[in-house]
């Protein structure tokens, strides 16, 4: 009888331990996400050429691009935004890209366009509507692809103590970001140039702070990738000029007619300067006679 009781007691105890282990494991996997991978992306190809859309080049022969151009700058629309990135952050990042474009002589004006003007998968039709509405000749589309990985390191067994989940940084967070600005001439539907930027970074965190750490990492990574892209943009613009000159990829035409020559002008004397010179000559003649 005693033996039977002790066997039942042992079985109950084992069951309780197994239950506790399962609950604790469940807790830690709740804290850390149990090793997860999340991605967010906005693809320029998906936006411009949605499924079912037929590719139709708008112009035969060498496309003509009218300059100085009016440019619209915007993010490619996406259902989800990168982790930790606020609307203000996105605006600030686009402003940095705008500053790079602004200094270019082929740009008359450049405006940042809010996301609401574009619809996911809108294609060139959506882009042309926007261009007509805002008077753009060229659009610069910023697309992104961000992947965030979260996983536990060997020290994560300490999460079983519950306290470990709050104190031991045994969760590894890794974020990879790729961004790209693709510039299109709307009328000819021609891609003029593209400039990529990328960043990869990782950081450890406690299980309980894993989500916050991943968001902060995602935000920092996105900003770094945008900065990298902005640097590359200068080179891409220089490369575009070179290609136009050497390969005749597109024909640059002046908005007012003729071929585009870039920033330039004339050196001109003013009427009052001519008058001053005439006065000087008159004085010289008068002095000689005196």
């Amino acid at each position: 009888m005693d033996q039977h009781f002790s066997a039942a007691h042992r079985a109950t105890r084992l069951l309780a331990i197994a239950l506790a282990a399962t609950v604790l494991a469940g807790c830690t996997s709740f804290f850390s996400g149990g090793g997860s991978r999340q991605g967010v992306s906005s693809s320029v190809v998906d936006y411009l050429y949605p499924k079912g859309a037929k590719f139709e080049p708008a112009q035969e022969g060498v496309p003509e691009v009218r300059l100085p151009a009016r440019v619209g700058l915007m993010f490619v629309p996406s259902a989800r935004t990168p982790a930790g990135l606020t609307g203000a952050d996105r605006q600030q990042l686009l402003e940095k890209v705008r500053d790079t474009f602004k200094s270019q002589p082929f740009i008359e004006r450049i405006e940042i366009v809010p996301d609401v003007y574009l619809r996911p998968g809108g294609g060139f039709e959506n882009l042309e509507q926007l261009a007509r509405l805002q008077g753009f000749d060229i659009v610069a589309l910023v697309s992104y692809d961000q992947v965030a990985d979260t996983g536990d390191t060997a020290a994560s067994f300490l999460y079983w103590t519950i306290i470990g989940a709050y104190t031991v940084p045994a969760t590894r967070n890794q974020v990879s970001t790729f961004v790209e600005t693709t510039v299109f001439d709307v009328a000819s539907r021609t891609m003029l140039l593209r400039a990529p930027g990328q960043d990869q970074r990782d950081a450890g965190s406690t299980a309980i702070r894993a989500m916050d750490a991943r968001d902060a990492l995602g935000r920092a990574s996105f900003q770094a990738a945008m900065a990298d892209m902005t640097t590359n943009l200068d080179g891409a613009i220089a490369g575009f000029r070179e290609r136009v000159r050497n390969e005749g990829q597109v024909k640059l035409v002046d908005r007012s007619g003729g071929s585009w020559k870039g920033r330039g002008g004339g050196g001109s004397m003013q009427g009052w300067e001519l008058a001053a010179l005439l006065a000087a000559l008159a004085l010289l003649i008068a002095r000689r006679r005196a």
Partner: protein, 170 residues
């Protein structure tokens, strides 16, 4: 023809060096050409009057590419330029230094004031095209640079040097 002679950065980089000279001779419209040619005629008359016309014409083929190359170097975003006024500022500065004396200093101060005004008020003026004020500054500097090494000694103008010896010299 116009495109082949314009001072154009890409063309110069491709080896079309004649643009360093020919760009000065092109103008963007009739008023532009008329004003610059009139100013050139007056400056030539002044040069002739102070007996410096020959020297000025000899230095001009050197001054033209100096102004053009300096302009392209100092304004990397400038792609093209046309007009005589950069060269004419060079002529004016060169003539003032060759003349010397108080006239030189007064003239150079006036040119400096005019250049400063041009930099501060780039949009002022009636031209129908963008005026490249840097060309004027570069031109004046080129004129000074070319004139200073051959400037007559202070107190002696060209007329003094050409004048026959005075009584004491006999």
């Amino acid at each position: 023809m116009f495109d082949a002679l314009l001072l154009e950065r890409d063309g110069v980089l491709d080896g079309q060096l004649w643009r360093l000279w020919s760009g000065h001779l092109l103008h963007l419209d009739a008023p532009h050409a008329a004003l610059n040619l009139a100013a050139m005629a007056v400056l030539a008359a002044i040069a002739w009057r102070i007996r410096q016309l020959g020297a000025l014409l000899r230095i001009t083929p050197v001054m033209m590419p100096l102004v053009s190359a300096s302009l392209l170097l100092l304004a990397p975003d400038l792609h093209w330029y046309a007009g005589l006024s950069g060269l004419l500022h060079g002529w004016a500065a060169w003539l003032l230094v060759r003349h010397g004396g108080a006239v030189m200093w007064a003239g150079l101060v006036l040119i400096a004031l005019k250049l400063a005004w041009g930099q501060m008020m780039p949009a002022a003026g009636s031209a129908a095209f963008p005026v490249i004020h840097l060309a004027h500054l570069v031109g004046a500097c080129a004129g000074l640079l070319l004139a200073v090494p051959v400037r007559p000694r202070p107190g002696r103008t060209q007329r003094d040097r050409r004048a026959p010896p005075v009584a004491g010299g006999r």
